[in-house]
């Protein structure tokens, strides 16, 4: 972090804004049956506003734990998390979350589900409905507002969950393996949809995944997590320009990045 301060002071890169989010030596130890189980040790990284950062690692390596700490949903056992200059100690306004399962409320219509965050924030009016309809249109679900979640396919439900996560214009979008439960073709579609949404909304996204190609395709930067207790084994800057397309996946450079990530994950020797 000293390094970044120096850069700012020197004004070496005037275009470089101060980091929006910053994790410093973050650790988490869970207490289970009287034993301390370290899940995450010494995680540090930064991201700027509008970045799409992926946390890549095997299942159970602690990347979800980091995401939850970033969302203020669980406390850290050590270290510091800052967002927009404020220390994160609990839930805060302006977070959108997407889980692996759509986790919609089956008793609410699609529109009702999307409107939920605004309703909780006391911002439910005609404008809210218009906005919800616009967002549903953006994800290709125009005309499904009155349907119940159970009438939709898994992919469509996850689109609704995406809409719910962005309707209140969160400053940060936390996504926990959001497309992990979908079939491969739907997943590819959803990857492009997420990039579209990010382009339109300018959202900052922290994305947890165990898919190497998904992480590289989506992200500005990929943080490869080691096995539990997690440390960052490799930080990959992905330099393909946006907008990316399915062609991007077939570039030699893409394969190179996949190889580097695989080696850091320990799946390729």
């Amino acid at each position: 972090m000293n390094a970044s301060h120096e850069t700012d002071l020197k004004g070496g890169r005037s275009a470089a804004p101060p980091p929006f989010g910053r994790l410093v030596n973050v650790a988490k130890t869970f207490q289970s049956a009287g034993q301390s189980v370290p899940a995450v040790k010494d995680i540090s990284f930064e991201f700027r506003k509008g970045d799409l950062v992926s946390l890549l690692g095997t299942s159970g390596c602690g990347k979800t734990t980091v995401l939850k700490m970033l969302g203020g949903l669980i406390h850290t056992s050590g270290g510091r998390i800052e967002l927009d200059g404020n220390a994160i100690t609990g839930p805060y306004p302006g977070v959108g979350v997407v889980f692996q399962a759509p986790t919609l409320m089956p008793w609410r219509s699609v529109l009702g589900n999307v409107l939920f965050p605004l309703e909780v924030l006391g911002r439910n009016g005609a404008a809210a409905k218009t906005r919800a309809r616009d967002i549903l249109k953006l994800v290709g679900l125009a005309g499904f507002g009155q349907a119940y979640p159970r009438q939709l396919s898994g992919g469509m439900q996850q689109r609704v969950a995406l809409c719910r996560a962005i309707i209140h214009e969160p400053s940060i979008l936390l996504m926990d393996e959001p497309f992990g439960a979908l079939d491969e073709l739907t997943r590819l579609e959803m990857n492009d949809l997420l990039l579209d949404i990010r382009r339109v909304t300018g959202a900052t996204v922290v994305f947890v995944t165990h898919s190497i190609s998904e992480a590289i395709y989506l992200s500005d930067r990929v943080l490869v997590f080691s096995k539990r207790p997690a440390v960052i084994a490799l930080e990959l800057a992905v330099d393909f320009p946006y907008p990316r397309s399915s062609r991007t996946r077939f570039l030699n450079r893409f394969t190179e990045l996949e190889e580097q990530a695989s080696i850091a994950l320990g799946v390729v020797k």
Binding site: P91, F116, V120, L121
Partner: protein
């Protein structure tokens, strides 16, 4: 459409077979009327006693409905408190479960002493029998709220009340209704037990009176009306479930 029709036709055919076998048995074995009336005699009793059957059924229906509503009105809040207060749960849940080992019929005389022979003792009996499944099913429903939905609520900084009314209670609704369906059936049993122990009105009382007068067609007619009453009350709860949970009509799936 054809499937629906079959679902009506087959049970009706089954019922017809039972009635025919019943009638044949009574005639062939020359069973005395007092012991076992013929189906036609029961039907005749239903018609000729329709006025008194109707008025007594109304009394019993009110006992059931009030007893059922009371068990819901008290059972659901008990479940809520037990779910959200660990101490209350630890102190009283085991006692509540243990109390179910008491045969409820054995409480009836006590309730009679406490509440008299009127409506109140029947209501109390219906409540005592019906409220336990309401408590258990509501508590189960409240505890089964999706942890992710609760996490979503936390990240949106929902208040406790918002979380309860917008997430936990609707999540529990299917369980609450399955408890309600059991409770409404048990409320009928409770009301009839109450009438058996001490009462001067209601279908249970009519049935006992007819029995002591050796009027077996009226006994059976009362029984028929009682079961129709039970089915109607159950049907009302099913309709309420459809109204309150229109989404439940859709199967999960779509993958």
């Amino acid at each position: 459409m054809g499937q629906n029709l079959l679902r009506v036709v087959y049970p009706l055919a089954g019922a017809a077979i039972i009635v025919i076998v019943w009638d044949l048995y009574v005639v062939v074995a020359r069973v005395p009327l007092v012991v076992f009336p013929r189906p036609l005699q029961v039907a005749q009793a239903l018609v000729s006693y329709s006025a008194i059957l109707g008025s007594e059924a109304w009394v019993t229906a009110l006992e059931c409905i009030y007893g059922f509503l009371l068990s819901m009105a008290i059972g659901i809040p008990i479940a809520v408190v037990m779910t959200y207060s660990r101490i209350v749960n630890l102190m009283f849940y085991p006692l509540l479960v243990a109390s179910q080992s008491i045969p409820k019929v054995a409480i009836a005389p006590i309730l009679l002493v406490w509440f008299g022979t009127g409506m109140q003792s029947k209501l109390a009996m219906a409540f005592v029998i019906a409220f336990f499944p309401v408590v258990v099913d509501t508590a189960t429903g409240l505890r089964s709220t999706s942890p992710e939905l609760l996490e979503l609520a936390r990240s949106l900084q929902c208040s406790r009340l918002q979380t309860f009314f917008k997430i936990q209670l609707p999540s529990a609704l299917p369980s609450i209704f399955s408890g309600a369906k059991i409770a409404v059936t048990l409320a009928v049993i409770g009301a009839v037990i109450g009438e058996f122990i001490g009462s001067n009105e209601g279908l249970g009382n009519l049935l006992l009176t007819a029995n002591s007068q050796l009027n077996s067609p009226l006994v059976w007619a009362s029984l028929v009306v009682l079961s129709v009453l039970g089915m109607m009350l159950y049907g009302v709860v099913v309709v309420a479930e459809k109204i309150f949970m229109p989404w439940a009509a859709f199967d999960t799936g779509g993958h």
